[in-house]
Subunit: 766 residues, 2 copies
């Protein structure tokens, strides 16, 4: 093996061709697909084969803990082998070893699949028992990449009592196991990116593909994003029309947009359910896996089974949960006061202060915000996590749900508070509050002339402030965000590669040879690619979802200020959808294909934002409605009862409409629902048949319609019985023998009654 | 048989002793228990035996349709016999024949029980399959009266395709079948009434007894009523204290009462679920039975199964449901305007008019209300029913739910509109609106002096009006209601008996002999009792529930006006609970023991009333809060923004508190829930075992932990394979043989890295 090949060249093959070519790629598509498959395809098939590897375990040790590292490594490989996984070991970068893992035998894999499917069936995720013959089962429901990878991942990470190897990356027991990740399927990725880059609409088949590769959790994100994108089209058109015809703060636009939000959220709920049925994952969130960090405080003997159970009393948890209220207050106070402070400074400098250095001082709030806000948000997130840990949830899903809820509180404050302040504090109370900004004058201003005294005394609010802020969040922030997500990581990686190249050159003396010096030549490119993927961060779908939810919030809360918000987001999301695809394919490790049947806690956030929208939109529309004064956005004389009445009216209208829309949409039939009904029906039929077969033979003849013979026998029996003894009851039941006699008797009574009636009539007539 | 025995004497044996005795019963208990069991117990055992009769079918024919009647009767008896029921026929009163029905054989009954339990299991009501041996199953879950009667009732009334006889009383096909009812168990009834009359608290065991006899639907009513009664104790105590210390319209009382409402409704939801688990009926509302009146308009071929299904498109139904909105408007308009009219007349006559006949005219509104309101309500109820029919629901439960919803709209208007008008129209706008009552002056008044002109000009509202109205609904109306429910039916029956006695005397000439002339002497008393029960009305639990819900509405909406409302209702409900027991036992036919797992649509009504309460209470408290002016109930200067702000604040506080309370209560563990968890766990374990047994033998050895030998064999296989051919993949996987070699290799990499690190360090130090 040539020891002196500069390691940097082969270190990251997917990126290599780009660096080699001096010309800039002609299009984004080209740039991206180039990254996926090197230009010189004939040279290497490294990207087209994963060598049958299912997972790669990255074992990163500290060089000064050699004994511990070797012992840990042996344990790792042994554990993997003990659950039926074959291993191959290769050298990794920077004190790491790569362990390649695949399932040792097909039979073993089949048994695991069967076990997993039985579990699904028992928890009601599958409506029917999987076929007993595994091959038949696989023919019926073919194994997708995602299912296979999920099962193997669980085999590696599940605790031993659940039949896994218990290898949890970065846990206390496995501190050297840095990550467990699957290799990208670059052929599929390339195809995916190419297709999406060239078509306008994402179809359900595309989503199926994503689901089959990356699992339902990721597929749900793309499904949501795509539904949201499609739904943005009507408000975009209406928004543009409204912008031209109605202007800002139009009650008509407000009503349409609120209705749209309601329909969108409810429709998504409907579609979410439908997708769950389509993908056969309805109810997976009910398969609870116990949290490992859960700490039981009490041993309780189950009164029924006598087993001792380890529990955490609900009352204790409730007490701990009450801490959420002070937490929300503290978060609002801490983050809120920072935002308020910056807001006040901004107004003071922008609209009151007139002294020297104004152009520099203008940046003060931005500087404070960009330095302090992430710091404080970080601290609060940390607090949220600790609070959540303290609440000690029993299952992972509960934990995640509660954690997301807490983070949403923080997001809500940092995202919307600025605009809220402008709309509901600055505008109505600006003229009252601004004089109090004198506080700053004492610090900054020595000379009265430096103050825009006219402004301070007869202060008039800046009517364009609100609109500018909304436009910032709708356009500027979106672009910045996009850049941060796509371009910055790209540049970061490029410079990292450059940096590595340089250090490699410096250490070229052979002191620290690169990892690939010992690679067999035919594996070199493959291993380089794996090392490159090992260095990528893990993908977290929740971050992407959160971004979308917050965007939806701007739309539902404030788009009445500037009706072009939907248009801006429509454009943004077309790119976002594709950028996210690129991100997953290039900038992230292949995500573990988790299942999901919902976007989870974010659904609550969506509903909440829609509701809040009905309040803010009403208030904004009322405050800024300019009945004939002209579209200058200046609030007319605001009356408290007016605002409150519009809020009251709008909110209850919202609740009413929401109720109707939710009801109507929930009744819409769909292929998924039909399938579910049919499955349930067939399963029930089968169960009924199975059970009724168990009825003793004797009774089976008595099946609903008693055969005349049986009946006659029974009656004969009854008569026989009544002849032998004669309690009053037996006598009562023996007066008529068989239904014919009963019928006869009844007819006699009827005839008699009729006769008597006629006789009576006759007498009367006489 | 003595033909001339006066029929009247024996006609209604349960009531006979009372009529015989001249003295009035010494207590209500005595009166009631006397009615149940005649004083002269030795004389007759008629009340203590039901002769083994399960059901009585009343066949009432028209004397002028003799042929049709006899044919119909024969069909009836034949049908009953065809589903395995034995029949006996006796003469009934007034052109009726009584058909006594019992199950022909125990085996047949057992098969039906098994079938019913299997159905429950399949629909998820039972968590485990019933034992295959029916006797074992019956030992495990003993058969209650209620289950037996329900199964037989279904056998009689279910459609033939469902295995029943299809005899639906009063349906088009069975127009002569008046009713199908079970006989009262008078021994139990007597015991029940006696026990409840002498104890203060109803326990869960008492509810179990009711459930075992009358089924879950009735038991749920008593459970609700009892929970409500128990829950009334804290607000009663607090209300009395508030009445003494705080007076009316106290914000503290308002807050406490709102919180109480929320906790009560949520607790009831919790308890409802717990009872469902206790009684093993959780999920029965999901066992949908198709409505017979459902009319499909479309044949749809199921895309999956290819079966043709008869459906009614959801979109069509939605269109029809939109008619509910105009319906609600019309109802509000029609009933509302009547109530408004009466209200206006009342105020005019009471407070403005001063002319002749005032004392008589005062009754005008009462007369209008008592004549027109029932008429209009009847018409609207009729309209509601027709609208509901038009909406064409597929299942009975949907139909009932929607129907209840519509009736609740009517109830809401007729019950609460009067007080609402006083509180939110008369009080704030009285002085503005009253002058418009001049309309009436033109009709009534010729002389200006007849008007209380002072009042009309400087009209001051009557501050006590609201309180009086609330007291009326809390006390007077309750007493009147109680009287209407218990005493009036009693008197009605007594006079009916008297009337029959008289007509019997008149027709004593033998023209129309009473029904019991041909009774065998030993059955005489029993048959008389049955005839008497046949003449009773059927019990409808929904009427009783509705009464409670409306009562709860007064409490949650208006009790802040007069804090003694809970006290009044507490007393009322103690009696109500017992009066309802008496009503079921004496004044009604034994109810068919239907199952239920909820009080159904009324739950929505409860939640709605609690929500609305948070609005009305805030508004009332604000409007009538007398900050230092003195407790005269006169509204101070009302500000629109003040009302709106209190409503806004209160409603959102309600929503927040409701969220927390609902969350907290839903987490409370309970015996029922523990049982459910355990059952589910055991069922799952059994299913897993069953399924894993099906795994092919070969794979079973491979169970999670692979045996070393198997593993070694597999590896050997892999090596053999790689020796034969050598694709890059096979080569890749054959570099290390077994996990020990992998571990070794990893250790080598680790050691090498550590050595290099140290070497590098050494170099640097040099």
């Amino acid at each position: 093996m040539p020891q002196d090949t500069p390691s940097s060249v082969n270190n990251n093959p997917p990126l290599e061709p780009i660096r080699k070519r001096a010309t800039f790629p002609r299009s984004l598509t080209e740039l991206v697909t180039n990254q996926l498959v090197p230009g010189d395809m004939a040279k290497s098939q490294a990207l087209h084969t994963n060598m049958g590897v299912d997972y790669v375990v990255v074992f990163r040790f500290k060089p000064d803990e050699k004994a511990k590292a070797t012992a840990g490594f042996e344990k790792l490989v042994h554990k993997l082998s003990s659950v039926g996984l074959a291993t191959e070991v290769r050298n990794g970068e920077e004190h790491s070893v790569l362990v390649f893992v695949k399932v040792a035998s097909d039979e073993h894999m089949h048994a695991e699949i069967y076990r997993s499917r039985v579990k699904d069936w028992i928890h009601g995720v599958r409506s029917s028992e999987p076929a007993r013959d595994i091959r038949a089962s696989l023919e019926q429901d073919p194994l997708t990449d995602a299912e296979r990878l999920r099962i193997i991942y669980q085999l590696i990470t599940n605790y031993e009592e659940e039949g896994g190897a218990g290898i949890r990356p970065k846990s206390r027991e496995w501190e050297y196991v840095e990550s467990v990740f699957a290799l990208h399927d670059h052929t599929f990725n390339k195809h995916w990116i190419k297709e999406w880059a060239t078509k306008y609409r994402v179809t359900i088949d595309d989503l199926d593909d994503i689901r089959n590769r990356f699992g339902e959790k990721v597929a749900y994100y793309f499904a949501f994003e795509n539904t949201y994108f499609t739904f943005l089209i009507p408000p975009t058109i209406f928004g543009i029309l409204a912008y031209i015809v109605l202007g800002s703060f139009s009650p008509i636009y407000a009503a349409v947009q609120c209705l749209w939000s309601v329909v969108f959220v409810e429709w998504w709920k409907h579609q979410e359910r439908d997708l769950a049925l389509r993908w056969g994952v309805r109810g997976v969130s009910n398969i609870e896996s116990k949290r490992h960090d859960f700490r039981a405080t009490k041993q309780v003997e189950d009164p029924a089974t006598g087993e001792t159970q380890l529990v955490f009393p609900w009352s204790e948890r409730l007490k701990r949960q009450l801490l959420q209220i002070p937490f929300a207050f503290v978060a609002a106070l801490v983050l809120g006061s920072l935002i308020c402070l910056c807001f006040a400074i901004e107004i003071f400098i922008g609209e009151v202060y007139n002294g020297p250095g104004k152009s520099v001082l203008t940046f003060t709030p931005t500087v404070i915000l960009t330095t302090c806000l992430p710091l404080l948000t970080g601290a609060m997130s940390n607090l949220a996590k600790r609070l959540n840990d303290y609440e000690n949830y029993e299952t992972d899903s509960q934990y995640d749900r509660q954690h997301t809820g807490k983070l949403f509180v923080l997001d809500f404050i940092t995202s919307y508070m600025g605009i809220m302040l402008t709309a509901f504090v600055y505008v109505p109370f600006g003229s009252v509050l601004v004089p109090y900004l004198d506080v700053f004058s004492k610090v900054l201003v020595k000379d009265e002339s430096q103050l825009n005294t006219a402004a301070e005394k007869g202060f008039t609010i800046n009517p364009d402030r609100l609109r500018k802020q909304v436009i910032y969040f709708a356009v500027t922030a979106s672009i910045v965000n996009f850049a941060m997500e796509v371009i910055v990581p790209y540049l970061k990686r490029q410079s990292l590669i450059k940096f590595k190249e340089m250090t490699a050159k410096r250490t070229n003396s052979g002191l620290q040879p690169s990892a690939n010096v010992e690679d067999p030549p035919e594996e070199k490119e493959f291993l380089d690619r794996v090392r490159s993927e090992a260095g990528l961060p893990a993908y977290d779908v929740y971050t992407d979802l959160r971004e979308m939810i917050i965007q939806f919030g701007y739309l539902s809360l404030f788009s009445v200020v500037w009706p072009l918000v939907p248009a801006s987001y429509l454009v943004n999301n077309w790119f976002e959808l594709r950028a996210d695809a690129v991100k997953i394919c290039i900038e992230m490790q292949r995500p573990t294909p988790w299942r999901a049947d919902t976007i989870g806690p974010w659904l609550d956030a969506l509903s909440f934002l829609t509701w809040l929208g009905s309040i803010t939109v009403a208030a904004l529309t009322y405050m800024f409605s300019n009945d004939g004064i002209g579209p200058d956005g200046r609030p007319h004389d605001i009356k408290a009862w007016g605002i409150l009445l519009s809020i009251f009216f709008s909110e209850h209208l919202y609740l009413f409409v929401h109720h109707i829309v939710a009801n109507a949409i929930s009744r819409i039939d769909s292929p998924g629902r039909q399938k579910e009904r049919k499955d349930r029906y067939l399963t029930r039929q089968k169960l009924v048949q199975d059970s009724l077969e168990k009825l003793p033979k004797m009774l089976q003849t008595d099946d609903g319609n008693v055969k005349p013979i049986t009946r006659a026998t029974l009656e004969e029996d009854a008569r026989q019985g009544s002849l032998k003894s004669s309690t009053p009851i037996e006598q009562f039941w023996s007066r008529q023998k068989g239904w014919r006699e009963s019928a006869k008797m009844g007819q006699l009574y009827i005839e008699k009654a009729v006769d008597e009636e006629e006789a009576a009539k006759g007498k009367k007539e006489l």
